[in-house]
Symmetry: C3
């Protein structure tokens, strides 16, 4: 029966995870008591380098994304709570998947806080893709999407990082581009023609817009931690923080200017404040730890923001109507276009890198994971990007096909963007508080809600 789908899937995933954890996951040499001795300096444990960034990224994932995605009028629970559910599972799963690729030796995955940071990056990928299908998917579908997307990401990450050795500190190439094209692939398959005519529940409210801006602000404030968490310690990390701050702050100003300029009446749109302000964080990503100069970080923020804004204004409607790409949160604008600009900027920064600018640390920064000028791998990378997009989109398409399978509790068009389908929603304050004092339209509303609540879930999901 329909009600059992979510519990059964979750329990199955939990059993899978706990069995794999018990067989494969052990402590790494920073968490294993057995490997400490009287020469170990407790305060030199890597936890003190990694945990502050991990905590910041946790705030971004659970609170930043959670609030940002709660912008729909009647899908606040869905946005915030499905984000919580999906993120939690994606991290657990990524610990295993990335563990096999990056932290596996002696027959075991070795675990420390550094694995959690990596897993949160994989989780961010899933949450970005979630943005493309927000409000149109059941929690069962979201968990299946995470189940499939994390391994595809794990393989891609392994190829890009280990094999091509691309320097991509802020993850603009890997995280944002991957998440965007994968998400577009999924939403291509989950196309719902009726939604192109608009949906009565697709709007926002005053409160939901404020909550969503709050999410934006959390993402904005902690984005430097996200972009610098995996860079080299020292001046590299210091630059990553500076550039991210500068890029974000340039894109924020630009977003305000463009939002007023491109609206019909010169007023600001909250959707722009919620999304476009963040574009700079992505655009500086691929070159965030390089010596690009503060001014260039500023220009990258402006460029990324402009591309993102024009995308929202002109490209998204086109994609939705002509290419069946209904991109609910506009991830193609905020993560795709900006990711492409970031990639180009990253390649330029690598080409322009010289010992004159970097001194002896050139080889340290770039031996880390970047191809040198003239390196055949660089050409490989340049050729790779278009193919990558297609490839990632394909992964998304295949995942979308799985999500269209019956039994995954996809909501009907009518119940898109509607918490009633998945949550016991409280009666509204004004409806409940004056239940003794009938208001003109109250009877109808209340009836309407009771009907919804008593309707068996089967009738309103496509199975």
């Amino acid at each position: 029966v329909a009600e059992l789908r979510l519990p059964v899937l979750v329990f199955a995933l939990e059993v899978l995870v706990v069995v794999l954890y018990s067989v494969f996951v052990t402590y790494d040499d920073q968490t294993n008591a057995l490997l400490q001795n009287n020469k170990t300096q407790p305060l030199e444990n890597t936890v003190y380098q990694d945990y502050p960034f991990f905590a910041d990224i946790q705030v971004m994932i659970f609170i930043g994304f959670g609030c940002l995605l709660a912008f729909f009028r009647r899908y606040g629970f869905g946005g915030m709570v499905f984000n919580f559910l999906t993120a939690t599972f994606a991290i657990q799963w990524a610990i295993l998947v990335q563990g096999f690729f990056h932290f596996y030796y002696d027959g075991q995955i070795h675990l420390g806080v550094i694995n959690l940071i990596n897993a949160e990056f994989a989780c961010a990928v899933v949450l970005i893709s979630f943005g493309a299908v927000l409000g149109k998917t059941s929690p069962v579908q979201l968990l299946v999407m995470a189940l499939l997307e994390v391994p595809v990401f794990g393989v891609t990450e392994w190829i890009v990082v280990e094999h091509l050795k691309i320097n991509d500190a802020g993850g603009s190439i890997l995280i944002h581009l991957f998440a965007c094209y994968f998400g577009l692939g999924v939403t291509f398959i989950l196309y719902r023609p009726s939604l192109n005519e608009g949906h009565s529940k697709e709007g926002t409210t005053y409160q939901s817009d404020l909550l969503s801006v709050l999410g934006t602000l959390f993402l904005w404030v902690f984005w430097p931690s996200f972009n610098c968490a995996l860079t080299l310690r020292g001046d590299d990390q210091h630059r990553a923080i500076l550039h991210t701050f500068i890029g974000l702050s340039a894109s924020t100003l630009t977003a305000f200017a463009l939002s007023a300029l491109l609206s019909k009446n010169g007023k600001l749109s909250m959707a722009d404040v919620q999304n476009v302000t963040l574009a700079g964080g992505v655009t500086v990503g691929a070159s965030v730890d390089m010596m690009i100069s503060p001014a260039v970080a500023y220009v990258l923020g402006m460029l990324g923001c402009t591309a993102c804004m024009l995308g929202y204004k002109y490209l998204s409607p086109f994609l939705a109507r002509r290419l069946r790409l209904q991109d609910q949160c506009g991830i193609h604008n905020l993560h795709g276009l900006t990711g492409l600009i970031s990639t180009i900027a990253g390649i330029c920064a690598i080409l322009l890198a010289s010992e004159e600018t970097y001194g002896p640390s050139l080889y340290q920064t770039f031996s880390y994971r970047a191809p040198q000028q003239g390196d055949p791998q660089l050409g490989e990378l340049q050729k790779l990007i278009p193919g990558l997009e297609a490839g990632l989109g394909l992964g998304g398409v295949l995942t979308g096909l799985v999500l269209k399978l019956p039994y995954l509790a996809s909501p009907t068009d009518e119940f898109c963007f509607d918490d009633e389908l998945f949550f016991n929603v409280p009666l509204d304050e004004d409806q409940a508080s004056e239940s003794q004092e009938p208001r003109c339209s109250e009877t109808q509303i209340t009836n309407h809600q009771y009907i919804l609540q008593s309707k068996p879930a089967d009738d309103v999901i496509t199975s």
Copy 2:
């Protein structure tokens, strides 16, 4: 007169605190300028180890708890603001009480950020107990509760930590069990039979549920800092972070599955998302720094969550009706049952600890404050638990009796869960914004509110 009760009590408490501070509180050797010399390394000051965890716990106490407790429809101010008031006083008071037990020498309490961390733990105890009586108590009662609970906790902590030397890094035994049974004792005495039939203001709204989930997310994100703040530095602290994250993330998935499974219509309940997801943080507490393995942390999260959920579903209604235990936020489920599981897990982890697993650091970790296998203190601990519950409950019962004294401004049944009694509440937006355009039921509502606001507080509190 009734209006003066809160100011008079607060001023009296402030005078008490400031006199005791001026007589007894001085700087510790990390904050006293006189004790620094030219060999002092400023960057080795303990403030850099303690402050990050302190700041995280501050967020949990003031923002996490504050939002979580704001879930009632018309008691959002009360939940968030009384939490603020009670927490602030409890910390000030705990600095003195714990100071006498743990930081007292040379006739003075010596103060540093480490004292603040300890005081926030005592404060968490008070706030958990507050959960049992949320909406049914006046701020005067809450301050008196903090005034009495902190010293009882201080004595218990001193016995458990100093005398029994129990390893209880995450505080599951001390903090959660103490807070639960004390709170149940209080609510037992403050029993209000009429509330068993439900109360018209006991529900939530869409907005209050979202705000409360936001509080949950802050607690969730920073819980690793709470559980690791007082563990040994180095790998112990690293493991505490990992286990807390894993335990929480297992209990979160389980909470979603059980919420859907146990509801009538297969839908998720926001109360479960707000509370049950957090169970894993408590369950891993007592063994959080030990070598329990990631998989066991996962299992502990699942077990704790299951116990917590079944408690909400079956035990709480029983306790309320049969045993006069009206546990408003279900602290017996989230802190009591999970605390018991955590204690058992902690004892097992101690019994199973061996040099094979820990290496030479075994003696360091457990000499810290844990009994060894065969140690008579361990038997003592095992015998202690049931007695502890009764003892703590007794402290709560006595406190409850004090709270029932006249002059403490306890709200009448009718004004439970209602901000009107203690706050100047703004007119609702829809009521106020169209005051020129009469709506059908407006006149009545407005009158109703003005009546409330002009009513002297005496009439609606039991004095």
Copy 3:
């Protein structure tokens, strides 16, 4: 045309900033790869000392201030979003202005995270002044205010810190007093007599009050980071954290007592909870790193809070009616009166400082930037304060005159405190959700809103 004012100004400012960045701003020796060598210890980079405090202050600026200023019923977008816009620009601009005064050598401004911390302090100044004119200014006016206020602050800071060498760790003298008197100067010029009779949109709602308290809590929790970020490392910073916490927590209790005591019906006012609780953070500021003792920090918190509360109750109405000082958020109470108390306390703490209390570190703490007893500079400082107030007020008056220039899109009296003027505001939930089920007053409301939205901006702003 009116719609172009904001975009044109923002683009002009961006071009200005990016040109100046590209010509003048380079990396400092902690961020410049060229200056690292094989003796550089990456983990000793100052980013690890500065970034945690920077991140905390970011939360205060963007989230704390943002939520706190969102308390008006229909100006939540304005409060939160204009705070975002103004803060972003003020920081960019302060990096340049302060850079020329403090970080300029070899013909360049040298940039690291420490510059960002300083710039956020300058930004806090602008945001405090913004509080005086909240709801009565267009974003264009706010940007112009930031453009003018930051350089005036930069010069004042340079005089006070470099020349007078005042120890003002928490910035109570510089930041709070400056911001207050500058803001009062601005609002003096922007006086709107009609607002003294009250404004239909000046109230709060249940939700907006909660959001604003959330902002207060973020400011409260991270205030220790603000007050200690620029103190000497080690015990000085440790004391700054302790004193700030103690001062805030004393002022919080006092605020609750006074709020109940001074209200007509003995109930608490949310405006007091939102503002007066924070007074202690300012009052301890000027002596925050000195050996003032915990009890004195407590007393300072109580005193600051009392002055602040009495200011709200008695002084603000007087200032508004008699002196044309409409101080919307009461910054004269929260930053002016408390800043004066803090200054006096700071002077006393300097006068009382002795080698007996501080040991050899006396010279270190006070050589940093404080005059010694008997030092002529101290007398200079004492004489300076009254002149400073007048001087700062004058800067504000001149800025206010600029803001009154035509073309800055100042809202008409009717559209003060109203998001409709600057934002595309979503229809309210209850209006939108039942658009098929007409409610009694719906037709009028909807029409009213459409009229607003289609009205050209020119008609409702004074140009």
